[in-house]
Amino acid sequence: MESNEVLIDCRSVWKVFGERSREAIGAITGRGLGKQQVLREFGCVVGVSDASLQVRRGEIFCVMGLSGSGKSTLIRLLNRLIEPSLGTVTVKGRDIAAMDAATLRETRARHIGMVFQSVALLPQRTVLENAAFGLEVQGVGREDRNRAAEAALAKVGLSDWIQRYPRELSGGMQQRVGLARALTADPEIILMDEPFSALDPLIRRQLQDEFRQLAKDLGKSAVFITHDLDEAIRIGDRIAIMKDGVIIQDGTAEQIVMNPADQYVVDFVAGISRLHLVKAHSVMIPVDQWRRQWPGVSLDSLPQCSPDADIDALIGKITGTGSDAIAIADNGRIVGVVTTRSLLLGVRGDAEPRAAA
């Protein structure tokens, strides 16, 4: 399913709010002013500062940040609910800033779905009518749009509720309707604006897993906004961490946990369990190094694991076999060795020098 086709390409995008935002942008490009200086000189708030990201087909891209970090602004720049002050956003190869009103409506209707934290289900309409709303706006006939909506509602497990009204549903079910509404129009990209943040933890985890499964099954790309790093790790193929309008780091969960870009990220990842996150290839030491440390032991006598085995599996292997080290084999070739020491460092989040590359 995954390919390298870039669906959303966001390059050096800025959003400056305030009456004098034009002047502020001039000063940013001309004099290289920073966020603090812009606020002091022009009274303008920089919502998003020089953000670049690419979302590829079939990928779930999470943007994690605390409130006020600019993540909600960033996601709205992607479908031009907010106009960027500077920089370009291309969706499927087309610059959305250059689109006229009709083309923009068409793009939003067919290619970019959106799910909101507030859900925004129309209270006067049934679940089915809400799910069909996107197609209704596109002018699809009642029968066709209801069929598509029923199929989408079935995917989120709400087939028995289609004739109910939103107020009769629990918060988790309402958000499923929101997701079904986005799926009904069959867009390639779904923007998820903190969709599960208002739900209680148990329902939230359930919906996270369901969403990821569904997106992967249907081959959808998603940009998923969250303030919860656990959620980002559960859902995202790649994660960008935002602070004060700046994307301070992006990469896979493992890359971020193993090589945090700065102290802010270090603090964030401190409480995250590495057991399922960190893989053997991040904690193994090179074969040469191992030979020097343990000259008497034969490599072939060690139990073997693949580079994708996570720490949990490695611990299982070591405790189960009684061996002090595990050889990591990739397609039959030994690429490194995980020792008890490197494993323990991995659990704590410190990779051996050189080994994390």
Partner: protein, 275 residues
């Protein structure tokens, strides 16, 4: 200053006379339309026997607000008939209905526009404030100068008085669409028309219904005052009773007005509250 005021007054008077002399056909046309509407409403109300009208009102009241209200309404209307004021009551109702239909036909669309265009709203607000602060019978004077004695004059004045709440509350309702739903409309690719019909208007319905209710109540008040210009109906009955100091008749007519007002007020309020 005094000179300026007298000059201003003369100019206004002259303008009014000029209009009566030269634009008579316009006002005759308006008068014909208004009276036609009023006559049609009255004809419909007087067509069935009184018990059918009272029975129907009772039935609607029962369905909307329960048995007590339904039976009460039917009995109260029967009392109007017993007081010998049936025709006058129906005339008043016809006036209110005709005036409200016109006031709403203009007021609700204007309110929608004002809700969508903040500039129009800002321009309308002082005009509406003025209309609502002036004593309502002021509107009878120019109307009687242009259209003479009769129900048409009463209707013009009533429409002017009944329109402001419809405009204000419709505009308010349109402006109060929750932001999340406006964002949904944009994100889903809705056009301006779809945004209005499918998102803004459904949320504005309770506010618009409140506006309709308020307009009706204003119309009732004005229709009674318009008795002075020969509107017909209970207003004229009361005006006549005041001139002859006929206290009993004025009390009877007042009771009939209260019955009618309560009936329409409760019914429109109840429909406004329904989801």
């Amino acid at each position: 200053m005094e000179r300026f005021v007298t000059t201003f007054d003369r100019v206004v008077d002259d303008a009014l006379f000029w209009l009566t002399d030269h634009a008579a056909f316009v006002f005759d046309g308006i008068r014909a339309v208004l009276e036609g509407l009023y006559d049609a409403a009255l004809w419909l109300l007087m067509l069935p026997p009184f018990w059918a009208v009272a029975g129907l009102a009772g039935l609607i009241g029962w369905r909307v607000l329960g048995p007590a209200f339904g039976i009460g309404s039917a009995l109260a209307l029967a009392a109007c008939r017993a007081m010998g004021l049936w025709e006058e009551t129906m005339q008043t109702l016809a006036l209110v209905v005709a005036a409200s239909v016109i006031a709403l036909a203009i007021g609700v669309p204007l309110g929608v526009l004002a809700g969508l265009m903040p500039r129009l709203d800002r321009a309308l607000t002082p005009a509406l404030d003025l209309i609502q602060t002036l004593p309502p019978y002021i509107y009878l004077l120019p109307a009687i100068a242009l259209m003479g004695y009769g129900p048409a004059t009463a209707l013009v004045a009533t429409v002017i008085v009944a329109m402001p709440p419809a405009i204000r509350l419709t505009s308010l309702g349109i402006r109060q669409t929750p932001a999340a739903f406006l964002e949904l409309g944009q994100a889903i690719g809705a056009s301006r028309g779809q945004m209005l019909w499918k998102i803004r208007l459904p949320f504005a319905v309770p506010s618009i219904m409140a506006g309709i209710n308020q307009s009706l109540m204003m119309a009732f008040g004005m229709v009674v005052i318009a008795g002075i210009v020969g509107s017909g109906g209970l207003g004229e009955t009361i005006y006549g009773a005041i001139r002859t100091l006929d206290i009993a008749t004025s009390i009877n007519a007042s009771i009939a007005i209260v019955v009618l007002t309560m009936l329409l007020d409760r019914l429109t309020q109840a429909t406004a509250r329904k989801p």
